[in-house]
């Protein structure tokens, strides 16, 4: 199954390279991938489509894993990585950057977004933890509080300055377009670190589902596992938001799908979430390019338009809503 998904992801990637306002035949795509011959097709593929495809896959993987960890650690099916305040932190930092420093390029946004996400993450982590480590309910409440606070700052700025709003409203929608590979290299270290933490905390996650006591008696240090998991969520979500703006839904929906496919063993759910996330975001990005051709629907919007009803159907058809 895992292999199948991996193949599907590769196929989706190729599709993403081929389709768009100008459809290129797959043969051409493969040729141009292997040697850049300066033709128009090559330009399209290399400068426009490779970056967005790579980003779509990366963001999808990051958010999928973050969502799975998030729901596992909070033991709450409502949990979404955005609840930890990270996305709000990124947005706020971006708006501040636009307003006070006049930053207007996406690479610039990315740095600020990372910083904002990091600060918000640390704050939420600190507020939501007691001596026993991060507490699920407190963490989410803290995330909601910090998000609301940062959102109010964001709104305060955009409501007063139309120019800032003008730039911000395009970023906040979540989009893979207009970015070049530099954005990818910027966020890659954070995503890699986040995935590493995720991998380290996943085996323990199964045990944590049984409660802290059982986990501790089986040799785990609960607070360390939780800290690792939460750090992973924050890194991954922060980096993903920094790269493409907030893309909602992936972290919420993908783990449910992954559990459908992979059961409740987090050692499977997390990798499945990664692949399904990458698949989902890539495909929605492609859909966004095709639906209103030659214009484009941003991936954040399409994600919600498809993800929303799909999620509703999913919830309806699950007999009992449990983790």
């Amino acid at each position: 199954m895992l292999l199948l998904l991996l193949l599907a992801l590769v196929a989706a990637g190729l599709l993403s390279l081929a389709l768009g306002s100008r459809a290129l035949p797959l043969g051409t795509v493969v040729d141009v991938l292997l040697h850049d011959d300066g033709s128009e097709a090559a330009t399209i593929v290399h400068t426009l489509r490779i970056p967005r495809t790579v980003l779509a896959v990366t963001v999808g993987i990051a958010l999928g894993v973050a969502g799975a960890l998030m729901q596992g650690h909070t033991r709450n099916p409502l949990a979404d990585p955005g609840l930890l305040g990270v996305e709000a932190g990124a947005s706020c930092a971006v708006v501040v950057a636009i307003y006070s420093l006049g930053i207007d390029d996406l690479a610039g946004y990315a740095w600020f977004a990372l910083a904002g996400a990091g600060i918000a993450a640390v704050a939420v982590f600190a507020i939501g933890s007691s001596r026993g480590g991060p507490d699920p309910v407190s963490l989410v409440l803290a995330g909601a509080a910090v998000s609301a606070l940062l959102l109010s700052v964001t709104q305060a700025i955009v409501v007063r300055d139309a120019d800032t709003l003008d730039a911000y409203r395009f970023w906040v929608v979540g989009s893979t377009s207009g970015r070049d590979m530099s954005v990818f290299w910027q966020v890659l270290p954070f995503i890699a670190l986040g995935l590493l933490f995720a991998a380290m905390s996943t085996p323990g996650l199964n045990l944590l589902q049984l409660g802290d006591d059982v986990a501790a008696s089986l040799g785990l240090t609960p607070w360390r596992q939780k800290a690792l998991g939460v750090a992973a969520v924050m890194l991954l979500t922060g980096a993903a938001t920094a790269a493409c703006g907030p893309v909602g839904f992936v972290g919420l929906v993908v783990p449910h799908l992954a559990r459908r496919v992979g059961g409740v063993d987090y050692r499977w759910v997390v990798p499945y979430s990664a692949l399904l996330g990458g698949l989902l975001v890539t495909l929605t990005d492609v859909a966004g390019r095709l639906l209103v051709r030659p214009a484009e629907l941003q991936v954040g919007i399409v994600m919600a338009l498809i993800g929303g009803p799909a999620f509703v159907l999913l919830v309806r058809n699950t007999r009992s809503v449990r983790i």
Partner: protein, 358 residues
């Protein structure tokens, strides 16, 4: 001497159990609210001493000019703040108790997002925003927007109910579907904003931040009406709601009619949230945080009803006061409610976690 937890209050055959701490909090909160209202009414271009304001409110006051400013000009805006605050506090307390989840609030059920979508659509599609992205003016602001928002909220609520109903109503499922609906509607709103003229987007953004300015009696009346009708209904449902906290099985064993109670509570919560968002736009954080704050103040096992209403009124009026008197520039109230409410919740959380032992 043990601290009294709850005391029975009897009147002939009738009897109620009054939770002492919650009653105290409500009373003190009510006093705070009255003071805040008086201060709120006293500030403005034409400052009036607070003592005179209180006299005028209580029926006295000999200055016709003062009375005009207080009762006709300023009172509507303050009243809308109190009413919306109470309505959202109650709606939040009810939803969180019903869903048995502190994260639940009418907002995450998608209703506020539905209202926002409809309102933004109204602004963007009719292109009737004021110059420079100020407040939408004229007929649209007075009638069109509230109506659109209300219609959006109610439609979303009905859709939510239909989608969640499947041989009964499972609250977990309802909340999840609400989140799904909400996210979809937000995407729709973002789409509208991205494709609108910048002036329309700016106007929409003002509405989306929740604004109390420029509200007249025509905005207050629907909210007061909703409160008058729905609050008694909520009080009657509270008994069954209390029993439902023990789980669906135990509640049914105690004779609670589950479907009816769920429907009733949702009806009240949705109604209150819808008229609120229609009147002032989304004041999202209020319905979520106020019941949690009230819960921690009264120390009970569920968000208290009356105290949540009072606390909601206090928060929103305080926000109005701050936007009018304290800040050097105008800011929509929704931003201020979040800016007040969030740090307080954060402080409460830190305090709770410090005390917690491993």
């Amino acid at each position: 001497m043990a601290v009294l937890h709850a005391t029975p209050f009897r009147l002939g055959v009738a009897s109620w159990l009054v939770p002492v701490r919650a009653a105290l909090v409500s009373l003190v909160g009510g006093g705070v609210l009255f003071l805040l209202v008086a201060v709120d009414l006293s500030v403005g271009d034409f400052p009036i001493p607070v003592g005179d304001v209180i006299r005028t409110l209580l029926g006295g006051g000999d200055d016709a000019g003062q009375r005009f400013v207080v009762m006709e000009l300023r009172l509507p805006q303050t009243m809308v703040a109190v009413a919306v605050g109470a309505a959202l506090g109650l709606a939040g307390a009810l939803t969180q108790t019903l869903a048995r989840n502190p994260l639940a609030s009418p907002d995450i059920l998608g209703i506020t997002e539905g209202a926002a979508f409809a309102a933004v659509a109204a602004i963007v599609l009719t292109g009737a925003s004021g110059y420079g992205g100020g407040l939408v003016s004229g007929r649209l602001q007075e009638v069109g927007l509230p109506l659109a928002a209300f219609a959006g909220a109610i439609t979303t609520a009905v859709l939510l109910y239909l989608l969640s109903w499947r041989r009964g109503l499972d609250m977990q499922r309802l909340v999840l579907i609400g989140i799904g609906l909400g996210a979809t509607l937000t995407a729709g709103t973002s789409y509208l904003l991205v494709n609108a003229r910048i002036q329309d987007a700016a106007s929409a953004q003002v509405w989306l931040s929740g604004s109390l300015t420029g509200r007249g009696w025509e905005h207050v009346r629907p909210v007061l009406l909703a409160l008058a009708v729905l609050t008694p209904l909520a009080l009657v449902l509270i008994r069954s709601l209390n029993a439902m906290l023990l789980g669906d099985d135990a509640a049914q064993g105690l004779g609670v009619r589950l479907q009816l109670t769920q429907l009733g509570v949702l009806f009240v919560a949705v109604g209150l949230a819808s008229v609120s968002v229609a009147a002032v736009g989304p004041l999202a954080f209020v319905a979520f945080v106020v019941p949690q704050v009230a819960l921690r103040l009264t120390g009970g096992s569920r968000p208290p009803v009356l105290a949540s209403m009072v606390a909601g009124g206090v928060l929103v009026v305080a926000a109005d006061l701050i936007t009018r008197a304290v800040l050097p520039f105008a800011l929509p109230a929704g931003i201020v409610t979040a800016a007040i409410g969030a740090p307080y919740l954060i402080w409460l959380l830190i305090r709770t976690n410090r005390r917690r032992t491993v």
